[in-house]
């Protein structure tokens, strides 16, 4: 490998006597460097969102994960950032008890059974008995035309927290990565943290294109809201007119799409 590199260098120096060094430098140092800093989005899909987000984050990020369910994403995050700290929220008691079992493995993960919302209060939480997606849960009531999917079969009362108030209580001064998969309340949570949002580097949200639930935050409103805080949409996997997952970041890296 080294021999062939040397041969190539000699070849270029002979071929470009008017600036051999700059040409060889460009080919062997600048081009590889440029390709190294660019993030190739084609390498990423819904299965490795955490790894994609890591490109925009420090190695020891503070992460808030809301809608942690049974911990599948939390485990990925915990492996990705052992030097970081993760705060995982899951209000559904069934999922929360499964989630908490990860505590023994990850000392740098804290678990909370409250739901994130715009204000701190107690509120009903709706879950559905849809076998295709048993994870459906939301603080928002399903609209009647979507009851076939979001049947809100079970309701229980949960403690809701405003994220900014929670951060002050816990003395969390910054959040690097905010993951919100909370059944339609994503936008109103973001709107309720006007100071904390400045510290956030990367946001993952579930996106909605239809009013599946009353008061749901729609993608068309989310996009301009995040743009005002300097967030750029990095990637958006979605089913047009239905739902999706989107990753936003304060742009500090070049991406190739």
């Amino acid at each position: 490998m080294i021999v062939s590199m040397n041969r190539a260098l000699i070849f270029f120096e002979n071929s470009f006597p008017w600036g051999a060094k700059s040409v060889t430098m460009f080919f062997f140092l600048v081009i590889p460097f440029l390709s190294a800093v660019q993030i190739d989005l084609k390498k990423y899909n819904e299965w490795n969102i955490v790894q994609l987000a890591a490109n925009f984050l420090p190695p020891d990020p503070i992460v808030v994960l809301a809608g942690a369910h049974q911990g599948d994403v939390m485990v990925q995050m915990a492996h990705q950032w052992p030097q970081g700290h993760i705060y995982a929220f899951e209000p559904n008691p069934v999922f929360h008890s499964a989630l908490k079992q990860h505590k023994q493995w990850f000392s740098y993960v804290d678990f909370f059974s409250s739901a994130l919302d715009s204000t701190t209060k107690k509120a009903p939480f709706f879950t559905s008995s849809n076998p295709k997606n048993p994870r459906i849960g939301s603080l928002l009531v399903a609209n009647s035309n979507w009851k076939w999917h979001y049947n809100d079969a079970t309701t229980f009362t949960v403690q809701c927290k405003n994220l900014q108030e929670w951060a002050s209580e816990k003395r969390v001064t910054r959040i690097d990565f905010l993951w919100l998969n909370i059944g339609g309340s994503e936008l109103r949570v973001l709107q309720s943290i006007p100071e904390l949002i400045h510290s956030v580097q990367v946001i993952f949200v579930e996106t909605h294109f239809e009013e599946f639930r009353q008061g749901i935050g729609l993608y068309k409103d989310l996009l301009p809201f995040l743009a005002t805080y300097g967030f750029e949409e990095i990637i958006h996997w979605h089913i047009p007119n239905y739902q999706g997952y989107a990753l936003f970041a304060k742009q500090n890296r070049q991406v190739s799409r």
Binding site: W47, K132, N133, H149, T207, I239, Q243, G244
Partner: protein, 272 residues
Amino acid sequence: MKTYLILFGFLYLGFCSELSASKGPGFWKPDEKNLSSKLTIITTTSPIPSNPSTEILEKTQQSLFKTPALKECKKIIVFDGVPLEQKYRTIAYELYIKNVEKLVNENPYFANTILVVNQEFKHLANSLREAFKFVTTPYVFVHQHDFLLVREFDVMNLIQSMDENPNLKLIRFNQFSNAANWWDGPVDSYIEGGAHVPLTRTFGWSDNDHIARTDYYLNFVFPKVTWNGAMEWFLHDSKKIQMDHLLYGTYLYGNLGEPPYIYHLDGKNSLR
């Protein structure tokens, strides 16, 4: 005694001529109506970005009718579940299933079709395993929701060949020309036991559209699938297949160098 010997001689000659004729190509022309007792078509489908539209599935199911005899066969459409990482697709996918239910009642290309819906994500092999619970025929045509059949093939003589030659276990329709490549290895036209249709021996195992023996799936393919994945992840091993091709029994439909029989509409990336 002489009479008996002469009679026996005639009987023996008659038996021999029958046997040799039955091995000759084109001797048996099976009735297309009987094909339904031999072959079930299983179409596998899963969440894709074009859901809830059924356009891709409609195109690919319609393409099966390029081989008119397939019209008579029982059809199963098996729906995989939604993977955890793609739960945002659930609503669109549920609407897609409802739309397919409508097609079964209204669209002639979906006549004689039953739907098998997996509630959980199982990936291709284990999703297909559920469909096999409804198979009563000795052969299955495993068809994926985004593969278009682009040319007619001789299904009657293919089934007849498989009936006669137990070495033919899986006949795949190639999405490329029948030629040596990194997946199929050094393909050739050697067919152990012969066939009434043109075939090419392959040393690759792919879950692209194919006709296979039902018992081959039940006794050989499924036991190798030990977790949720595609069949080829467990079965494709070119070296192993070259060492024991008779065990795998994989062939491509058509002669060496023949152009593709199927076209990939690529449902996964259709809208990206």
